[in-house]
Symmetry: C2
Subunit: 134 residues, 2 copies
DNA sequence: TTAATTGTAATATTTTTTATTACAGTACAA
DNA sequence: TTGTACTGTAATAAAAAATATTACAATTAA
């Protein structure tokens, strides 16, 4: 259970409400995590084309498109890793008829559940989320 | 991202397909994790009244009710801990207007998403899941 | 009364997450 | 043209979480 989604949401909310480029140090101060961790997440959000950056003095980060066209599902997808329902580290015993198959069935289940989550997350966009902060 | 849900599902599937009490050591062998970890999860599943145990020689574990009346949502709920969408370790900066409020809004969002997951998980019961292993 | 088992505590190890340090590269602005 | 405020990223350290191990008391069937 890591903090990547909350951090990404915090970043996106800050950028949504800002009317100019924000620096990673400023955002790290609001989120209260190490600036390098924020920069890594910013880097990831750039890779997923949700934000853009400007280097050099007075540089920083800004949304790459209107907040109304950024769904929370796309933010989730940019930070997601592994299974929503978790994952056992070891392979189950292949000599056991249950062990042999269960990973496939659990993976199918995980996909279904993740889809349900994404559907729900897809009903809200960043602009709507930010309205809550008025 | 821990393995508690997969392990609990593996346990429940084994008990569902067994026609007698199963020992924690046998289950640990199928799951391929440490027996003590399995016993801890068994202990938790007992606490949530999904299974029962019998001590002593020829002891073990069995389902406490028909597999058709055990929904996957109840299994999920018995192992769940913390937020589905994750959680940042540090408190955001309370001096920041976003930082001050974001945890509440993220918690609301988390609740919504968890509910969507539970709704979906609630559409399947253990018996149906076990049918896949035929 | 022995052997197989549950139940649980204490501790160790491994893995993951987060923090820190360091510094090269970029661009604004005096 | 030089200093300063940034981005970007690598390497390492520290902290936290997950899993494994050891140990043993309590229970019960045979």
């Amino acid at each position: 259970m890591n903090g990547r989604f909350p951090i990404a949401m915090h970043i996106m909310t800050l950028l949504c409400t800002a009317d100019d480029y924000l620096s990673s140090d400023y955002m790290a101060g609001s989120i209260n995590v190490n600036p390098v961790l924020v920069r890594k997440e910013l880097s990831n959000l750039i890779k997923h084309q949700l934000i853009t950056s400007r280097e050099g003095k007075n540089g920083g980060y800004t949304l790459s498109k209107p907040a109304t066209s950024i769904s929370l599902a796309s933010i989730y997808q940019s930070v997601k890793q592994g299974n929503v329902l978790g994952q056992a580290k070891n392979q189950p015993n292949p000599a056991c008829p249950i062990g042999k198959q269960i990973n496939n069935h659990l993976k199918d289940l995980d996909n279904e559940i993740e889809q349900a989550m994404l559907n729900k997350l897809g009903t809200t966009n960043l602009a709507a989320f930010c309205k809550k902060f008025d």
